[in-house]
Point group: C2
Chain length 401, copies 2
């Protein structure tokens, strides 16, 4: 069944009323873009999800405070510096970023959200950032989304953008987004930023609920290295510029949810595909668990195991390491009931290797993407997540910075 929405270009500026831009403010040094701005005209309803890490970066704390504003005008984000573990000065810097945008937009500071990503524990070069904001405000265009997507990248190797168009209550509506990922990706998001926009009119409570659902199905189901960052932020702005009636229930909200889910899941997959040093994209589905929670435990243990992930890097279907991981996951496991299939080829049945060993499995694990289904044979619990392998390149990328 074809989804009732069409991919379009423009990501965060596909929706009417949004402008964006990105430039090199000098935070990273050189000509690398490191400052992104998204502005909505008219002011937008806002929903957001933040890191569960108790150590929250200054910009996250500023965003949490700014959620009290009734409407939001802009998101200012920098890469190259996380502004985390920077104390009171870091808080002043995050506030200053919001204020610099608000002053020129003529709105309250609280109507501006702030995000940062990069190294922790280093003060922002705030003078450069403020000068960059000034320049950036003059450069905003309805086509500036690509620059913004580029400017939030850290060790990402490609910008992550997507948008879809759909008909909603007789109007043409857009949902789009940009994201950055790469490392520290799990659980409940990670050094992960995602900015989502729509021109549908969705009241705030419904918008937050829709975002929670979409994040639960996408960004919370991926793992690169099992670390959770201090800066994770997903923001969704809905400015109503498409002149729909308020979407707060029924078939219209379900359709909006579908589009939002699609956008978030596609961005999440791009993040895993671009995991630091990743050479393989692996979907791990655990079924037959005593509960969904147990299925999630088992899937996360597999997706986060250094031993499992390095065996994938070596194109080795080392299913014994999967068994070990589910065994220590905390999920209820009965070894003799477990079956494991690679892209539908059953390799393990009743806890032991199928005999003769299906040689096709060895070919499957040499591929760039495959799915592993682990059935625990105990109940109806199911959970699925996306992960990648652990390569020498991952280690090289993370030696410093």
């Amino acid at each position: 069944m074809k989804p009732p929405f069409t991919p379009v270009k423009g990501s965060v500026t596909a929706a009417k009323g949004f402008k964006a831009g990105g430039l090199a403010a000098g935070i990273k040094g050189g000509s690398k873009k490191d400052l992104a701005l998204i502005v909505s005209d008219p002011p937008a309803n806002m929903a957001a999800v933040f890191t569960t890490n108790q150590v929250k970066a200054a910009p996250v704390r500023v965003c949490l405070a700014h959620m009290s504003a009734e409407r939001t005008r802009a998101i200012i984000a920098n890469s190259g510096n996380a502004n985390a573990c920077t104390g009171e000065v870091g808080m002043l810097h995050a506030h200053a970023m919001a204020a610099a945008v608000a002053r020129r937009l003529g709105c309250d500071d609280q109507q501006v959200l702030v995000c940062s990503t990069g190294r922790i524990g280093v003060l922002l070069p705030i003078v450069k950032v403020e000068a960059g904001i000034k320049r950036l405000l003059r450069r905003l265009t309805p086509a500036g989304a690509a620059d913004a997507a580029q400017a939030i990248m850290t060790s990402d190797t490609f910008p992550k953008q997507i948008a879809v168009r759909l008909r909603l209550q007789g109007r043409t509506v857009h949902v789009g987004g940009i994201a950055k990922g790469a490392g520290m990706i799990q659980p409940n998001m990670a050094t992960m930023l995602a900015f989502l926009t729509t021109d549908a009119l969705v009241p705030r409570a419904a918008l937050q609920q829709a975002l929670n659902l979409a994040v639960g199905l996408s960004f919370n189901r991926l793992s690169v290295d099992g670390d959770t960052s201090t800066n994770d932020t997903v923001i969704l702005l809905a400015n109503g510029a498409a002149a729909t009636p308020p979407i707060s229930g029924g078939a219209a909200l379900r359709l909006f949810q579908d589009a939002l889910n699609f956008v978030c899941i596609e961005l999440a997959k791009m993040i895993v595909r671009d995991g630091e040093g990743a050479s393989r994209f692996v979907t791990v589905t655990v079924s037959g668990a005593e509960s969904n929670r147990d299925a999630e435990r088992a899937a996360r243990a597999v997706a986060n195991s250094s031993l499992v992930k390095t065996s994938w890097a070596g194109a080795d279907a080392n299913w014994g390491r999967l068994m070990a991981a589910i065994g220590y996951s905390g999920a209820v496991v009965q070894e003799s009931r477990v079956s494991i299939a690679y892209d539908g080829i059953v390799a393990v049945r009743d806890g032991v290797a199928v005999n003769p060993w299906p040689a096709r499995v060895n070919k499957i694990v040499r591929g760039a993407a495959f799915e592993i289904r682990i059935d625990l044979g105990l109940g109806d619990g199911v959970y699925s997540m996306h992960t990648c392998d652990l390569t020498e390149q991952y280690v090289r990328l993370n030696l410093g910075e």
Copy 2:
């Protein structure tokens, strides 16, 4: 204060009444030793600790059954094959190993313990193993501990052995051990085997309690890659050949405990030092936590974080990654109360970097070993553990097998 015991040679055969040996049975192929045997004359009291993984290898299940024997005569162990996830045939093989030893020693099968380590999910070449056992029984000597230590190695780069001598109740007593480690080391042990022997006479209940304590202070406090194996086993045999009175309380038991702790801690440190691909040995101590449990949570999060461990590999004192790890550890953390010191040099105070940054820290993290102390500034909880860095070499070692 000098401990009241003296290091001696001979590890598991330092204690009177123990013989050992090791040889190449052909499990690994070639001339690599892969079969080890330790025999006690007289029969010994036994205590043991096993993996908490729900997926337990066949030899672990056999050991659990054989704990019902009143006395133990021998430990037979192979490397090169874990005999895990091998179903009913695997159970038959593990039983056959015990039986082959028992038959020739003229004891019950239950008086023989069995251990395996190596790849999961592959059947043992049992004919080779049984032939090896036959040869091995003819080669046992009071000096065979070194061969046994060699024969249990997998990706270990050096055998791990230690023994001490002490005076106990007017008698000369020995406590010694061998171990193998390398990968999958955490928490509650890992593809880790440790065999400990003593010629003190310690009744079984006191022996098990002493072992639990020692394991809690040593093997349970190390982490190489955060994976827990299906095969972890620590066995302690006490044969009373030193003719002490029964040691079951008071100063004598405390002294025995000290010696056992020392032996276990030294073996644990050797395991971390020989962690797969490890280039740095790091002791992480968390203090000032709301509880010891919280301190443990924070220490484990740091010791298991791929991002933290790769930064150590890069000789980068990336303390922000430590902050992120304690922040998601589940321990109560107040960022502005955290301080971090490297080998006593305070680098972070009140949650922010000391200014100016102490350059000596950069030198410390380039060293082969250092200690990180993280004080949460909230209470009296303390926990300490040993870990290593995550290098490209770790990934290379784990691509296959």
